[in-house]
Amino acid sequence: MPTTRADQHRFRLPTLTGALRLLPWLVVGLLIFAAIAAPLIAPYDPIKNVGSPMLAPFSPGHPFGTDGFGRDQFSRILHGLGPMMFVSVGAVALAVAVGGAVGLISGVMGGWLDWMIMRAVDILMSFPLILAAILVLVALGASTFNLMLAVAISQIPIFARLTRALAAGEVVRDYVMAARASGFGMLHVMVSEVAPNILRPLLVQATSVVAVAALTAAALSYLGMGARPPEPDLGYMVKEGQELIFIAPEQTILPGLVIAIFVLAISFCGDQLNEREGG
């Protein structure tokens, strides 16, 4: 499978063996379940003061204590999982769709169109990802949906370039030549011939990029560009808790830890998929 320059320089996680290989999938599955079931399993409303003191310590009633407003921290973290996954998975899905379409056109059509699209992608990639996302959020305003859009836009060039490389490799193969010789149009060639054959490596790459998207989203939320307080948002909770690090370190450590666990687990999942693809 062709690899990007970023792939070549990416930190390789240690390889899990045996039953341990299941662990990241279990963790991701558990977090997805918790995110979906949060309204059912969270013991308290994540936004309302539950009548407990501010910064209450861990207790059976509040397993993660309460935050600076007397809100149940466990409930807030559970409810914060959903936005994190919506932003990271949604952004990557959108980036794959848009970047994939652009890259497919570029790789299959070739010629001046390919040159122009790739130069445009070069320009987009010359912006640091986080800066591009900040610019988008400044223009659109802060919200969870706009955060997803911003992260997606920052990832589109990556998938455009990857798809273009994959499509360009496929377009010279016999089955594509045969389809073209049979009189099928370019749209048919792109959608019915090339796309199905590059989808698998693209999705493998997408899994890995979800981790990057989650970190980008957390960083932007930390900067106050995500969900509007008091909506629970893990990145913003890290920031909110930072001020309290000397008196209630769990306020920043717990949401940070959840982000780290999700990113690590999804990275391991991506690596395993990559290995299966022979990457």
Binding site: N49, M54, G68, F69, G70, V138, A142, G224, R228, P229, P230, E240, Q242, E243, L244, I245, F246, I247
Partner: protein, 527 residues
């Protein structure tokens, strides 16, 4: 023995050395002569008439510059500074300041009446080639009310006014009213901010933008040479880094500590928290041109709905106090009965809303997205919604927030903070609620209220009153009038900046630091 190191080890060593040299400051505990003070940032341009970096500029300016008068925050009235005394004409329109003899600027230029006049002429003379574009100092002195300046003799500087202004001695204590060396001004012109020379207790030794300013004690300061030889104003923007620097002895004084950490710091050995008077007032401005807020009963409901105790507890961790109305308890013009003007009563708020048929009124509140503002936004949103409003808070970066704040078509409710550069009651009213101000026109849009004309007349009358007692009474009445007849803002709480000081240091002016002023000339070794 093999003493060679790899390139990677060398890079790590160099990196570590660089970090160490940046972080290890020669604080007082280390050398016994340097006080390290934390700055949030440092633009490095100290042009006093158009501040380009408000927070850091004021800290440095207060330490290296002085004006005719000085507000030490321990006395309620302005004290002599470059002027050793002054006289006021019977009609209150002519002020003659006698300059202290024998003073010089940091560049040894003698300070006389002509030197002082040079600075004030620069504020008002638009043809002055050294005057910066968009200078706002003239307005801060009194604007059109200032008739002119004169020098009756070598050591007397005269300010002539069109109408009496009892606050002018206080205005002269502002950081933008400091005296600039005429020699430096002629030499550097519009670049004076980068080559700043005045006559404060410390003089600038070196400035590294976004890093630090090193200041040396000035021998010829009017109050005598400061006891501590050197002040290093070090950029440490992160509160967590400030607290660790305090704990490690690398930082001596800061007023940037979050309120939430005060108790924790107080428990640390070698550090004390000096609590100042609550000069910083926080208000919720209501745009009266918004249809829902055009009804004074709805505005009263907003004020009643605010849970002020929750703000004190959850936002300021107990380090704030209940407000009166506009004037804080620490200033002239406050009366204890003003607390009733800002009481919190959710049921009363709901009753007023029901009476006005305004239950469910949707309002948008704009707030800054950093510091304590998001916490404040959450408490205010919650308490207003409990009373029957449907409030949404928009958290904005500082630039966007200010742009929307000063555009009455871009906000409905907004937070406004007011500190006291000098604790004169007029400073709370004229700049924010006088009809000529952009604040009254755009933030509350209260100039459209019929009561504004009477408010203007009351502000002018109170400020023209020279008898302190009578003046105080007028400001007490002014607070009551504005709350009962207009209510363009809801007072939230009054607070202060917690001041953390190393036990090695004494004499730090906490009241000034608690409201963004920085007077370090009386700081001295603790023993």
């Amino acid at each position: 023995m093999n003493t060679s190191i790899t390139r990677r080890q060398f890079a790590a060593l160099m990196g570590g050395t660089t970090v160490a040299s940046t972080l290890s400051l020669p604080a007082f505990a280390q050398d016994g002569k340097t006080l390290v003070f934390a700055l949030p940032g440092l633009v490095g341009n100290f042009e006093p008439h158009t501040w380009v970096g408000f927070g850091d500029t004021v800290h440095v300016m207060d330490t290296v510059a002085r004006g005719l008068t000085h507000m030490d925050f321990d006395n309620p009235l302005p004290q002599p500074a470059v002027a050793e005394s002054w006289t006021i004409s019977d009609d209150g329109t002519v002020y003659d300041f006698t300059i202290r003899p024998g003073l010089t600027f940091h560049d040894d230029t003698p300070i006389d009446a002509a030197a002082v006049k040079r600075t004030f002429d620069r504020m008002f003379d638009e043809t002055d080639p050294t005057r910066p574009d968009a200078s706002f100092a003239a307005d801060n002195l009194g604007g059109a009310n200032v008739k002119g300046f004169d020098t009756p003799d070598d050591m007397t500087f005269r300010i002539m006014l069109n109408a009496p202004d009892a606050a002018i001695l206080g205005r002269l204590t502002r950081p933008d009213m400091i005296i600039i060396s005429p020699t430096a001004l002629e030499q550097h012109g519009k670049e004076i901010g980068l080559n700043f020379v005045s006559c404060g207790p410390y003089k600038i030794s070196s400035v590294t933008p976004n890093e630090r300013a090193v200041l040396e004690a000035f021998d010829n300061f009017y109050g005598g040479k400061p006891a501590i030889e050197r002040v290093v104003m070090q950029v440490i923007p992160e509160p967590v880094a400030q607290m660790t620097s305090l704990a490690s002895g690398d930082l001596d004084v800061t007023n940037l500590i979050p309120h939430s950490n005060v108790d924790r710091l107080e428990a640390m050995p070698g550090i004390r928290i000096e609590q100042s008077a609550a000069f910083i007032s926080l208000t919720l401005a209501m745009n009266v041109e918004v249809e829902a807020l055009s009804n004074i009963n709805v505005r009263r409901a907003v004020s009643l709905a605010v849970d002020r105790q929750a703000i004190i507890d959850e936002v300021f961790f107990g380090k704030a106090e209940m407000p009166g109305y506009i004037t804080p308890a620490a200033e002239q013009g406050y009366a204890p009965e003003h607390m009733e003007l800002s009481r919190s009563d959710t049921e009363a708020a709901r009753a007023l809303l029901e009476e006005a048929g305004a239950v469910g009124t949707e309002l948008t509140l704009i707030s800054e997205n950093q510091g304590f503002w998001p916490r404040l936004g959450q408490v205010v949103e919650r308490s207003l919604n409990e009373a029957g409003f449907v409030v949404t808070v928009e958290y904005l970066d500082t630039g966007t927030f200010n742009a929307q704040l000063f555009d009455k078509t871009a906000h409905e409710l907004a937070f406004v903070q007011r500190s006291a550069f000098f604790p004169d009651p007029d400073g709370r009213f004229s700049p924010l609620y006088g009809s000529s101000t952009s604040a009254a026109q755009e933030i509350t849009a209260q100039t459209s209220l019929p009561e504004q004309a009477e408010l203007d007349a009351r502000i002018a009358a109170a400020n023209a009153e020279s008898d302190p007692e009578a003046r105080g009474r007028l400001y007490v009445e002014l607070n009551t009038f504005m709350a009962e007849q207009m209510m363009p803002v809801a007072a939230l709480v009054n607070t202060f900046l917690p001041v953390a000081v190393s036990d090695d240091i004494q004499g730090v002016n906490a009241n000034a630091l608690g409201t963004y002023r920085t007077f370090l000339e009386n700081a001295a070794p603790a023993n």
